[in-house]
């Protein structure tokens, strides 16, 4: 029994550590890539190729003065970054990174937990994040923050609907909510081949869900300075920052799990395939950021409700019909 607990704790520590390391280096990768897209070189001073940049960033952020605006709601102002960060990190608990490995004579799946409603769990966690943002915007008692908070609440709630509908096609095909089983169901053919529309919808809805360009309205800097985290500094700001990138990694990992066949792949071991596919997804998100302008608030809402939602519903209907006609399991 005690051995199981120790193994579990080690497993959580390893995966959490790798995840946070990924997040930290994602910032470096993004800055490097954006640099090259924009004919710059990106960070290069701290360590070889600027590889120590995330550490330097962290030290800098921590050493900054931690300001709380005098008229802010102190308790909520402090709570908001935690509400944003914790669910963002919790989401990775159910993501399967690979098949199984033998540790101490015990066969165990690579991943922290495998619950039969894994998909619902991820969605539940991602919708918790909006509270952090809305509260941060409101409790700062700053007009720009308030507008950022309001915008993001409206945006995240609107796009959650399309996001949920876009993956239902996958659930219909796999016949399960368990992420591990969904990956197993994609063994010969990944669902992106069967659900291309669903995949595109998922990409669009999820980049809105994590507020990336072209849907980065909550922190549209040319309008709202820094949006909901305008008043945040030091570690509290860093928590929002980490939450944002953690969400980006989670979304990419989810896209891989749901549509790109998860850890399935020839020759290489499972976790490596998973990492490669996730990296490709991340590259796509960064590339988009380097290319596109931003939607306006009303355009964003119109796009979400009048385009994404109907198409997602239609996609679901067609998938359901095909699954029903072909008699059960797709």
């Amino acid at each position: 029994m005690s051995q199981t607990v120790v193994v579990d704790i080690v497993r959580i520590a390893v995966i959490l550590g790798m995840f946070l390391g990924c997040v930290a280096y994602l910032v470096w990768v993004e800055r490097k890539l954006l640099g090259h897209i924009q004919i710059r070189v990106g960070p290069k001073r701290v360590g070889p190729y600027g590889l120590l940049q995330p550490i330097a960033d962290f030290v800098k952020l921590v050493s900054k003065e931690d300001l709380t605006p005098p008229n802010a709601h102190r308790a909520l102002f402090r709570l908001a970054p935690a509400i944003a960060l914790v669910p963002a990190i919790l989401s990775i608990a159910v993501i399967p990174f690979g098949g199984t490995i033998r540790v101490l004579g015990r066969e165990m799946p690579i991943g922290i937990a495998d619950i039969n409603v894994g998909l619902l769990y991820v969605f539940a966690m991602s919708s918790m994040g909006v509270f952090g943002i809305a509260l941060a915007g409101w409790s700062s008692n700053n007009k720009y923050s308030l507008m950022g908070g309001l915008r993001s609440s409206a945006q995240l709630i609107s796009y959650e609907v399309s996001l949920g509908l876009s993956v239902l096609g996958v659930v219909l095909l796999a016949g399960t909510f368990s992420l591990r089983e969904i990956v197993a169901a994609q063994h010969p053919i990944p669902f992106v081949a069967l659900q291309p529309v669903g995949f595109l919808l998922f990409l669009m809805a999820s980049s809105a869900e994590i507020a990336r360009i072209p849907f980065d309205l909550p922190e549209a800097e040319t309008e709202l300075v820094a949006g909901f985290h305008t008043e945040y500094s030091s570690m509290k700001f860093a928590m929002f920052f980490v939450a944002e990138y953690a969400n980006l990694v989670t979304v990419s990992a989810m896209a891989v799990t749901l549509f790109l066949g998860g850890w399935n792949g020839p020759f290489l071991p499972g976790p490596i395939w998973f990492a490669l596919k996730t990296a490709a997804m991340l590259f796509l998100f960064i590339w988009v950021r380097g290319t596109l302008p931003r939607y306006r608030y009303d355009q964003l809402m119109r796009f979400g409700w009048k385009f994404l939602l109907p198409v997602a519903l239609l996609n679901l209907l067609v998938t359901a019909l095909i699954v029903a006609l072909s008699g059960g399991e797709g």
């Binding site: 924009q38 549209a220 309008e223 290319t291 939607y295």
Partner: protein, 372 residues
């Protein structure tokens, strides 16, 4: 049941704000995301140019004109020396005329490149501004070669220019113009033809031609409203009549006449027109002196002049009064940016905050010349 009472919120944008293009402050009365009223405030960059000018000799004023609109210093120099030359009635060598036009038009290209890039930033695209900087860089290199400075050139002199073109300048400029053509297509792909960018600019911040004329809006902003007016053609100065170029006017196409899209598009096309002028000037560049300096710059007592030129931002006028001494009695600047800012409350109402940023950004004002 009584109606729900909602409050208007006054949002203070600037003077420190990422999108006000300098230290410009505007008070917005907002109803949710909708801006119902705008109140611009200026004066944060006031440096007493006009007062300084009353205490300096004519040549000493030229470097101060650079600092009016620091993105098109050559054009600011140009306007001032033309005004003084008109007072003196002095002759300028042929070669100097050509060099002046080449510099002014290259500077127009550089200035418009910055505007286009920053417009991308206003729309939320983070890359175009760096491409704009990259392409402007080559022009700055050229300017550095001839004038020694990259931003504040102090290159024009009464009677000509301070230094001749360096060897190889003509070839380098030609090469750059070829390169520019390709780059402009890149901008078209990144912005002009981008669906989101069009969604953000088409029909946004429409400035009706009548309002534009009433407020004396000039330059590309006026032409974007469909008013065909360009001082280089309609009130020619220097040697502009010798060159063939089109005056680009806003059109109904993807955009509505007078909207942000047309203000953008007019500038992209003007870069192409300026490139045409530079090419012609390079072809016709004569040999000879690059300056014929007057013995002393003492315009006759009581003489006064108003001379206006077309800068990248619009009509720049210098009103100079002389009392026969080497120092002017009064120098008044009519800056285009000042006028454009005054027009903001007239057409930037009942729009979303994001649209306001776009509409103001496309006016392309530089606070240096607004506050002076």
């Amino acid at each position: 049941m009584s109606e729900v009472r909602t409050e208007e919120m006054v949002l203070n944008m600037g003077p420190q704000h990422p999108s006000t293009h300098g230290v410009f402050r505007v008070e917005l009365v907002t109803d949710g995301e909708i801006v119902t009223e705008t109140r611009p405030h200026i004066g944060y960059l006031h440096r007493c140019f006009e007062k300084h000018a009353e205490h300096l000799q004519y040549t000493g004023i030229i470097p101060f004109t650079d600092r009016l609109d620091y993105l098109s210093g050559m054009n600011q120099n140009f306007g001032f020396v033309l005004a003084v030359e008109k007072l003196l009635g002095s002759e300028i060598p042929e070669r100097a005329e050509y060099i002046r036009v080449i510099m002014a038009e290259l500077n127009r290209i550089a200035s418009h490149l910055m505007m286009i890039g920053h417009m991308g930033t206003d729309a939320g695209a983070i890359t175009p501004v760096l491409y704009g900087f990259r392409d402007r860089e080559y022009i700055l290199d050229l300017f550095e070669e001839v004038s020694g400075a990259r931003l504040l050139y102090n290159y024009y002199r009464v009677g000509g220019v301070i230094a001749d073109l360096t060897p190889g300048f003509v070839e380098k400029t030609r090469k750059y113009l070829d390169y520019l053509e390709r780059v402009l297509n890149e901008f078209d792909q990144l912005l002009s033809e981008n669906k989101i960018f069009r969604g953000r600019t088409v029909g946004v911040g429409v400035l009706p031609p009548k309002v534009a004329v009433d407020y004396a809006v000039t330059g590309p902003n006026l032409r974007a409203c469909g008013v065909n007016w360009d001082l280089r053609r309609d009130e020619p100065y220097s040697i502009y009549p010798r060159f063939k170029f089109d005056v680009v006017v806003g059109r109904e196409g993807p955009g509505v006449v007078g909207d942000s899209w047309n203000r953008y598009w007019v500038r992209v096309q003007e870069i192409r027109e300026s490139a045409k002028i530079v090419r012609q000037a390079l072809d016709g560049l004569p040999e000879g002196d690059f300056i014929k300096a007057p013995k002393s710059i003492r315009p006759p007592k009581g003489s006064e002049v108003y001379h206006r030129t077309e800068t990248p931002r619009g009509e720049l006028g210098y009103y100079v009064i002389s009392d026969g001494t080497p120092t002017p009695v009064r120098v008044k600047v009519r800056s285009p940016g000042f006028v454009h800012i005054s027009a903001i409350p007239a057409f930037c109402t009942n729009m979303m905050v994001a649209d306001l940023v776009m509409a103001m950004g496309t006016l392309d004002f530089v606070m240096g010349e607004v506050d002076r």
